[in-house]
Subunit: 415 residues, 2 copies
């Protein structure tokens, strides 16, 4: 019962897969995923799931704390750390402290599944630093609620949360199982706020994966392991507060895409709106996918080839690391419900049969206010692409550094 | 532009994968999936996606017809057949007849993805045979709306539909892409009714996959290719109506599982409720997973070892082929909405924060009324497992035989 699988550890195949992932990173863009089974080490200077090559499947889960006791929060982070350490290695978690007599250690739906590059990444929202836990003085200055952006239509069902867990794997059942083990530890401590699920398909040739607008997404990403990546993502030693050194910040935006409208837009228009050729990912100014866009190049008549309101031009000044996942949740909205006779006519702001698909844009940066906020302000103001998108969910979390064996995620904050 | 990938066709790896899948079938239970890339042939006596080893990911999509013209329905089935034939081979669909000038042939998010064992399977609901299309006389007698079962809490958002498409693949992005190409063909013809998405994780040892109660699911399934499978699933030659020969019927039930309650139930109770050991899948009467349950065996005190109200005992008399997928959609329910001042108090039957996870139970049988209905009646009446489940969606469709090259799915009905 202690082990989810008979054979654990990093296999030769996993090592080969990891080597392949590194090779793919070196080619630029997002790497193709390694073949499962592969184990991503949980411990380290940084939390896994950030520089880790994107897996095929992601579950983001947010919780609101109901406890007001920092010791309870500390125990929860210890507990989650133990769960993540064991489950990412293919082991069962240890028994829950509050389990009823005779209950199984876990739900069993993860039995026998290979680790599938599972990662579990934890973050603290602004609420952790409010009056409840005595941590206000240790709040990172960079952790602030995001401002309202033009066009935002945020739904509380996809916004905010005191705690977030990003659970990624190449096996959707393993991701579901792992998220469930986290939920099983919060009874009386925190309340589930929302769950969002995304996926990423990988071209067979190892090329940059695409979003639901058909665009290669992540071309401009810094490559994990490079100085540019570190400078973009990781909070450096000596930063304020010290407990965030080696950490980062997660901004998660749920960006609904108007797929039907987009699909009716001529391809040449789609390309002009992005500033790149959809098929190849090459900038309209020429070259191939990884050629730098030539923003000064003009076409017949003197107009810039990459338009002033194109996504590429507006987004280019801002450095961030995108680790997004597509989502396709189908028609959404109110469930049918009856009103007693005599109820007055009223507006449900009913979005039923809105088709909810798009991008769970997970952005990792060392300073959201300096990197994400000005980028999103520029895009919300002028990017033509935004006429096909609506931001319907949002959140920001401080993602503490990784845990070493014997420690836990958040230890430098919570002691 | 005509090809989604540079290299198509069945590779050596795909053939090896198919051989592996056959080997796994011979061991009983649901087979482990072949490694992608692999192409599942679309054409054949039967539609693909039924006897096909279950893929990792499924999207079920239902539509209601708005056309009343059988010729339009015929053209849609021709169009869908062409889409499925091409996309399952890694090719782009042909241009849409109603596409605006300059529009891309497809949405591009499938570019470069390997076929990932994609299958697309189509079915006709009872509505196809109502007064609209002149097909009432050709309605299969076995295609009837299911009766209401005890405990049903069916939500229209997951129930019914004139047409259904089951889209399965090992790559969730490819499944999303393929379903989108079907949607792109229905404008003015049909309206999207619902989308349901499921997944299946596969134990690394090739064992039977598990549902979200941690149980091996599919142990009693007949093995595809055997006479028992054919007798359970395929409508035989000479049946009434003749156009269904080689077809089958799909019953899809969305079974919400009370995961939190289940997880608090002692393991011994879970086993008693199922009639099997969760860990091994062996019946409580002894042996291993594929040992036939000994329903006559009694324990101390003379009580049957496999209880009278256990799932195994109640389900055993009924022959069906289960091709279910787990789902884990998170908290569900009404979106927040405001009422104008003066609105009277009223009940929204608000299920917000109900956690919606469970099983998309796809059952393939040659006669739902003789195979599925009595089974579900017996289970709904007495199975203790049903105290942990709620059926919240339902549908039944006639699944016509497969198409041969040059033909289309439903041709024997629609001419």
């Amino acid at each position: 019962m202690a082990s989810r699988r008979a054979v654990l550890g990093v296999s030769a195949a996993a090592l080969a897969g990891a080597a392949g992932a590194v090779a793919a990173v070196a080619r630029g863009g997002d790497p193709a995923p390694a073949q499962p089974p592969a184990t991503v080490p949980f411990h380290g200077r940084h939390q896994a799931g950030i520089a880790t090559p994107k897996q095929r499947y992601a579950v983001f889960v947010a919780f609101d704390l109901v406890t007001r006791d920092v010791a309870v929060l500390r125990n929860l982070m210890r507990d989650w750390t133990e769960v993540a350490d064991r489950v990412t290695r293919g082991q069962r978690p240890l028994p829950r402290g509050n389990a009823p007599a005779g209950a199984a250690v876990d739900s069993g739906d993860g039995d026998g599944l290979a680790p599938a590059r599972l990662t579990m990444t934890f973050g603290f929202g602004p609420g952790v630093f409010d009056a409840r836990f005595g941590l206000a003085a240790r709040r990172p200055p960079a952790l602030r609620d995001l401002p309202a952006f033009a066009g935002d239509e945020l739904d509380p069902a996809y916004t905010g949360g005191d705690l977030v867990a990003q659970v990624c794997a190449d096996d959707p059942q393993l991701a579901s199982y792992a998220a469930r083990q986290l939920r099983s530890r919060v009874m009386g401590i925190a309340r589930l706020r929302w769950v969002q699920r995304g996926f990423q398909g990988y071209p067979a040739d190892g090329g940059t994966p695409r979003n639901l607008f058909g665009q290669k997404d992540g071309t401009a990403n810094p490559a994990p392991g490079t100085p540019e990546f570190a400078d973009t993502v990781w909070v450096p030693d000596g930063a304020d507060p010290a407990w965030m050194a080696g950490g980062t910040f997660l901004v998660l935006r749920r960006i609904r895409m108007s797929l039907a409208t987009w699909d009716l837009t001529p391809l040449a228009e789609q390309d002009a709106i992005l500033g790149r050729h959809r098929d190849t990912g090459a900038p309209l100014s020429g070259g191939s996918e990884f050629t730098a866009p030539d923003l000064d190049r003009t076409g017949p008549g003197g107009a810039p080839v990459i338009a002033a309101d194109s996504h590429v031009r507006l987004a280019r000044p801002f450095k961030m690391f995108r680790r997004g996942f597509n989502y396709d949740d189908g028609p959404q909205g109110d469930e049918p419900h009856a009103h007693p006779a005599g109820t007055e006519p009223h507006d449900h702001a009913n979005h039923r049969h809105d088709y909810d698909a798009g991008l769970l844009l997970a952005v990792y940066v060392r300073d959201p206010g300096a990197q994400f906020v000005p980028a999103q302000e520029a895009l919300a103001r002028a990017d033509r692409l935004t006429t096909f998108t609506t931001h319907v969910g949002s959140g920001v979390w401080a993602v503490p550094p990784g845990a070493e064996p014997g420690g836990y995620v958040g230890q430098a904050l919570l002691g």
